[in-house]
């Protein structure tokens, strides 16, 4: 094997890698992290979490409080009435497996994920 040949192989490898990355990157979901990884340092950050709904509470004003659990832990997910309506959260049920994206906020010393009208909800 000659040096030039090895250089060509290396170059081909890099090009195939870049092309593969191009195709794979369009299938990646964004910012998904394990729930246990959400620490106070994440406050104000947008995160995406996936897991099972273990509780769902709807207040008289229409605000929705979900608890989502994955293999690493659980967290409260909050959607105020106008957001809940836009995102269609009322239709979600306990034990549904979902992925949601929202902003990490601290409320009364506990971290929660606050959904906005731009948040995305996907059934898994």
């Amino acid at each position: 094997m000659e040096e030039k040949k090895l250089l060509y192989i290396a170059l081909t490898s890099a090009i195939i890698g870049i092309l593969s990355l191009f195709f794979i990157s369009s299938h990646l979901s964004s910012n998904q992290i394990p729930i246990s990884q959400i620490t106070p340092e994440y406050e104000g950050s947008n995160v995406r979490i996936c897991g099972k709904i273990t509780s769902k509470t709807v207040t008289s004003a229409g605000h929705v409080f979900l608890t989502i659990k994955d293999n690493s832990g659980s967290i409260k997910v909050v959607a105020f009435n106008d957001t809940a309506e836009k995102l269609g959260i009322y239709y979600l049920e306990k034990y549904d497996n979902i992925c949601v994206s929202g902003k990490v906020k601290e409320y009364k010393g506990e971290l929660e994920v606050l959904l906005s009208k731009n948040s995305k909800i996907e059934m898994k």
Partner: protein, 410 residues
């Protein structure tokens, strides 16, 4: 946008891997710990977690290709490249340093292609193989150690046994006491045993670095193919099993690399060790997908950043590895030529002394005076094999014996 972001992370990873590969004493695990620490802030800035994963994979794969440059040219190894010092250094003293580097690059590139080719099959085999062999790790390691001693001739068997037990006891004492943080503990051990001891022997022999041949001889395809295949399967063993590192896999493959032609052996060994280093990095991450067990610092970091390591992540691993191994190979060939030119201009005697002093400073900087004590002891042990005429790989008892004892319940 996401593609460009991830590609940028891959390039940053390659740059980081080039840095950790070229600078002795800086391990990718150190940077992984740093990356893990700043991940929340990076994600807070809106960066993609998968981008960070790509950065880590690119860095680790690049490191495994580039770290042979200091190992072979300067005799500055880490645990994975320690056994390349002697054959590599011998080739440098024969004016074939560039060829030695070239051989390790062939191993690295070859293993990545073989990995991609066999991946579908491996994903089925790894869980079965792992569940079967996990209870016998101590026996596998003991078998390798026995083989290392048994291949020596007559009285050298006893010398080998003595050095194995001496280095093993030393390793047991160091690794079972918190003298140094785990990230740094191997630096003085391997720099002393395989780096400084080699340089001291060369200094004593008044060795000179001859003009390095710029034209690399055509490598026999058999050497490239067999070296890569051995590297692949040895790396598979390392990547799946806990307690077995690149060094042990190299020893195993070294025992398999036996022909009557010594130069043939050396070349195949260099292809093999180049491949094992990269294969180890790939399989340590594949284990995360196939058996859910991280087998390297990088894999542990990735597991902490992502909730799941699924098919998408595995494909990312493949794509990033292809880019990293491709770019790192080109960089390695180019950088090693520059270093070869520099080496020719420096008097070897002074250069060796300079490198030894540099190691002493690095050791004090990273590990303090405790590290310096470990470095001196390791150097003394590392001088024994060339003085007693045994193979230096026997010094790997320093990690093998503690691991064997651990799995036997000590």
């Amino acid at each position: 946008m996401m593609f460009l972001e991830i590609l940028l992370f891959a390039l940053i990873g390659i740059a980081a891997g080039t840095f950790t590969g070229l600078v002795p004493g800086i391990h990718t695990n150190t940077l992984c710990a740093l990356i893990l620490g700043i991940t929340p802030s990076l994600i807070g800035f809106g960066l993609h977690p998968h981008g960070i994963i790509v950065l880590i994979i690119s860095m680790v794969v690049t490191h495994t290709v580039i770290d042979f440059i200091p190992s072979i040219f300067l005799g500055a190894p880490d645990d994975a490249t320690a056994l390349s010092v002697l054959p590599g250094h011998r080739m440098v003293l024969d004016g074939k340093g560039l060829e030695a580097i070239y051989l390790t690059v062939i191993g690295g590139v070859g293993v990545v292609f073989l990995y991609i080719l066999l991946l579908p099959l491996l994903l089925k085999i790894i869980p079965i193989f792992y569940s079967w062999i996990k209870s016998y790790i101590h026996f596998v390691l003991s078998g390798i150690a026995f083989l290392m001693i048994a291949i020596e001739r007559k009285i050298k068997k006893l010398f080998s046994l003595f050095i194995f037990l001496l280095s093993g006891t030393f390793g047991f004492l160091i690794l079972n006491n918190s003298f140094l943080p785990s990230t740094y503990v191997f630096f003085p051990i391997f720099t002393g045993m395989f780096g400084i001891s080699t340089l001291l022997i060369s200094l004593n022999k008044k060795a000179k670095i001859p003009k390095q041949k710029k034209d690399i001889e055509k490598i026999d395809k058999k050497i490239a193919v067999f070296g890569t295949i051995k590297a692949f399967f040895s790396g598979l063993l390392v990547g799946i099993l806990p307690g077995i590192g690149s060094a042990q896999a190299t020893i195993l493959s070294q025992q398999l690399t036996r022909s009557t032609n010594e130069m043939h052996n050396t070349k195949e060994f260099l292809v093999c060790i180049g491949g094992i280093n990269t294969a180890n990095a790939l399989f340590a991450l594949t284990s995360l997908y196939s058996i859910g067990k991280p087998r390297s610092g990088a894999a542990i970091t990735i597991q902490k950043i992502l909730e799941t390591f699924g098919m998408n992540e595995l494909l990312l691993l493949i794509a990033s590895s292809l880019i990293a191994v491709g770019v790192a190979s080109i960089l390695t060939l180019k950088i090693s030529k520059k270093i070869a030119l520099l080496l020719e201009k420096c008097p070897y005697h002074k250069l060796s002394l300079f490198i030894i002093i540099f190691f002493l400073i690095l050791t004090i900087y990273f590990t303090g005076f405790v590290g310096l004590l470990i470095l001196f002891t390791s150097t003394a042990i590392g001088l024994l094999p060339p003085l007693l005429g045994t193979k230096r790989s026997i010094c790997m008892g320093v990690i093998m014996l503690p691991v064997i004892l651990y799995y036997f319940g000590f």
